[in-house]
């Protein structure tokens, strides 16, 4: 669900002002929006996390990209392996959407040589499966409007600063 910028005078003003501005000025405008959005987006995400795993995988690489025509909020965007080898950009799904828990029994051999059985609850580290997600998806859904508002006000604010000669 994307808002058509033509439907909102505010968004129209923002987009047209970005188009109108000199490239140097435009840079400062998008930079202003980026820092505001990133801060807000990360804090929204952090409020929804429960474990360090969620913070590391989803929130730590959450960013805001602002172009002169739109902006995009990303999460789990890091391509660098975490200490255990997990690449957030590839394997965020279980963390965000949860995973099905299941018991698995398998046979191991003790140090003395006696075989015995072990039962583990697999995927215990993830939340229960829910297709609506837990962190980024609800954050985007609940705060999308606010993010757009922040985007508009950040640009507007910068515009006034510029007009005051800052």
């Amino acid at each position: 669900m994307v808002i058509d910028v033509r439907d909102s005078p505010e968004l129209r003003a923002v987009i047209l002002s970005l188009k109108l501005a000199d490239s140097e000025v435009r840079k400062t405008m998008t930079a202003a929006a980026r820092s505001v959005l990133r801060e807000a987006w990360q804090s929204e995400l952090r409020q929804r996390t429960l474990t360090r795993l969620e913070n590391r995988v989803i929130v730590d690489s959450a960013r805001a990209r602002v172009s002169s025509q739109s902006f995009t909020l990303t999460a789990a965007s890091s391509r660098r392996k975490l200490s255990g080898g997990l690449v957030p950009a590839d394997d965020w799904a279980s963390v965000e959407l949860g995973a099905k828990w299941f018991r698995r029994t398998y046979t191991v051999t003790s140090r003395k040589g006696n075989p015995y059985k072990v039962t583990k609850l697999a995927n215990r580290q993830f939340r229960p499966r829910r297709s609506k997600g837990y962190v980024a998806f609800p954050a985007a859904g609940k705060t999308g409007q606010r993010m757009v508002a922040l985007y508009v006000s950040a640009i507007a604010r910068r515009l006034h600063e510029i007009s005051e000669g800052k």
Binding site: V5, A154, I162
Partner: protein, 579 residues
């Protein structure tokens, strides 16, 4: 390769830009909505305002301030525009002078940046009313920092017409716009209206559509061009088409005057005729009859022609202003460039002087090799440090002498540099020159040597062998040899413990602590050329080497030679570590 989580909330910006023909106009239409945004945040206190940490509040306020400022500017601009062209010129001038009075403030970086930005918009933003950018940018200067900011705002499309020049080019007023264009052309033609390509202007104007036929205008057969208009008016006034066309176009002042005169006469005739008819008893004469309608039509034409004539006058005035403003702008830019050049020369000269002096000092620091006994390999830190001190003193004395000489005899930069280039080793000679009172002769020789190469060449007959030994280093010289250039050095002491080994061997059962004390110059730690003239500082450097471990090891391996490296922790007077 998986994809990260991504959300995009807004779209179709490309379509919006495509559908908005004139970006600036489109922005003007909706820009107020950004102001409303700030206000809403204030009133409802919703998440937006909270999230912004009163940012929206501030934004809302600043827009209000901005609006007030625009209004004020507009008022000033209008007031100026209401006066005659001369008065506008005076106001621009007075404003500039006023700005010059507060030069200190005016020079502040923020303002000049804003002004630069405003000026740099001239080229890129088509939004600025065409030919008056420069007048506008210049006039802003007269209004100080606020004006410069307003200029930027205008460049962004936020503002309305603000200054006198801007008012003259008011885009809403078609006539003014046209006079602006004409003014631009007059300026481009070097002020000579005869050189403006009137023919093509006339053609353009002739086919310009005056009145589009709208669907409800059933009575109008087609679009109505200036040519049609001229034909109609020519018929109404009995003037020939060509004259009327030129008169209405505003490009032929003579034609305008001629037609105005003839129309005036016709109006006079008609008025007289109607007066006579009324005197004869026809009280309704001139009311809705043929004569009356003709009179109305003629009066309309006269109004129009008068307008054309005024417009023409405006163009001439505007051209004058534009010319003036352009000249001022150019002069300012040139002055700026010269100042920048001077500043960069000064910096280069200072750097050159510093490096000349510093190289001597660096050589002293690097000369530690000379203080090592070639046979025994023993080092003599005391002498090394003392030598450096001597070098610093010499450099300080040399620099002082050079600058005294430069002051006394008003040496040029090249001449000062020529002396500095001789290096610190020249110091004693310079000292004795000055002591012996030979300084004037020395300076005279230096001056001859520095500028002498060309002179000697000039005075030499062709074909002769030229043997010139002249110092013609073109280097720039010192404006100020004082500079603060902190430098850091690493001090690492290494002690040979061979001798200690031998002693330790003889008294191996006694644990002992050796204390090594050295004095080092702090210039190694923090040294500024500015300190050259003041007393050099010293700091005590204490190194403590515990040899207890060495004892034990020696007991076990008494036969092996060993080297102990002692890393000294060097502290300055304040007790801060130096590394």
């Amino acid at each position: 390769m998986g994809k990260p989580i991504e959300f995009t909330f807004i779209g179709n910006a490309r379509k919006l830009i495509k559908e908005t023909g004139d970006i600036k106009e489109g922005f003007e239409d909706v820009k107020d909505s950004l102001k409303d945004l700030g206000k809403e945040g204030d009133n409802t206190g919703d998440d937006i305002a909270k999230g912004l940490d009163q940012g929206a509040d501030k934004a809302g306020r600043s827009i209000d301030d901005l609006e007030d400022e625009f209004r004020e500017m507009e008022r000033k601009g209008k007031a100026a525009a209401d006066d005659t062209g001369d008065a506008i010129g005076k106001k621009i001038k007075a404003g500039t002078e006023k700005a010059e009075e507060g030069l200190d403030e005016f020079k502040s970086e923020a303002n000049s940046t804003a002004k630069e930005s405003a000026a740099s918009f001239d080229g890129s933003a088509e939004s600025i009313v065409d030919s008056f950018q420069e007048i506008a940018a210049n006039a802003f200067a007269g209004f100080g920092p606020a004006g410069a900011a307003a200029g930027l705002a205008l460049a962004l499309g936020l503002g309305a017409a603000i200054t006198a020049g801007q008012a003259a080019a008011d885009a809403i007023n078609e006539a003014k716009e046209r006079s602006g264009e004409l003014a631009q052309e007059i300026v481009e033609a070097g002020g000579d209206i005869a050189q403006v390509d009137i023919a093509s202007k006339l053609r353009e104007w002739g086919v310009a559509i005056k009145d589009n036929r709208e669907f409800w205008e059933l009575w109008q057969d087609s679009a109505y061009s200036n040519m049609d208009k001229a034909a109609e008016k020519a018929e109404a006034t009995g003037t020939d088409f060509k004259t009327m066309f030129r008169a209405l176009s505003g490009y032929d002042a003579g034609a305008t005057d001629r037609v105005l005169e003839s129309v005036g006469e016709q109006i006079g005739d008609l008025e007289e005729k109607i007066r006579d008819a009324r005197a004869a008893g026809n009280v309704f004469a001139g009311i809705q009859d043929e004569d009356g309608m003709a009179l109305d039509s003629l009066r309309g034409i006269r109004r129009e022609l008068t307008g054309v004539k005024d417009e023409r006058g405006d163009a001439a005035k505007a051209a004058e202003l534009l010319q003036e403003a352009t000249e001022e702008e150019t002069a300012a830019a040139e002055a700026n460039a010269a100042a920048e050049q001077a500043a960069s020369d000064a910096t280069a000269a200072r750097n050159s002087a510093i490096s000349a002096l510093q190289s001597g000092l660096d050589a002293a620091v690097g000369a530690y090799g000379e203080f090592t006994n070639a046979e025994s390999g023993a080092t003599d830190p005391g002498k090394y440090i003392a030598a450096m001190q001597a070098r610093i003193d010499a450099t300080s004395g040399f620099a002082g002498n050079v600058s005294r000489l430069a002051d006394e005899f008003g040496l040029s930069q090249a001449e000062t540099q020529a002396i500095l280039d001789q290096g610190v080793d020249f110091g004693p000679m310079l000292q004795s020159i000055m002591d012996s009172g030979l300084a004037p002769e020395f300076v005279a020789q230096i001056q001859r040597a520095v500028g002498g190469g060309q002179e000697l060449l000039d005075g030499t007959p062709l074909g002769a062998t030229v043997d010139v030994t002249a110092e013609v280093t073109p280097a720039e010289s010192a404006l100020s040899i004082l500079s603060t250039k902190p430098r850091d050095s690493k001090v690492k002491a290494k002690a040979e413990t061979d001798a200690a080994d031998a002693q330790l061997k003889s008294t191996a059962d006694k644990p002992r602590t050796a204390r090594i004390t050295a004095v080092a110059d702090t210039f190694l730690a923090s040294f500024t050329l500015g300190l050259l003239t003041s007393v050099p500082r010293t700091a005590r450097v204490t190194a403590v080497a515990s040899t207890g471990d060495a004892d034990a090891a020696l007991d076990r391996l008494a036969s092996r030679r060993r080297t102990t490296t002692i890393v000294a922790r060097v502290v300055d007077r304040e007790g801060k570590a130096v590394n």
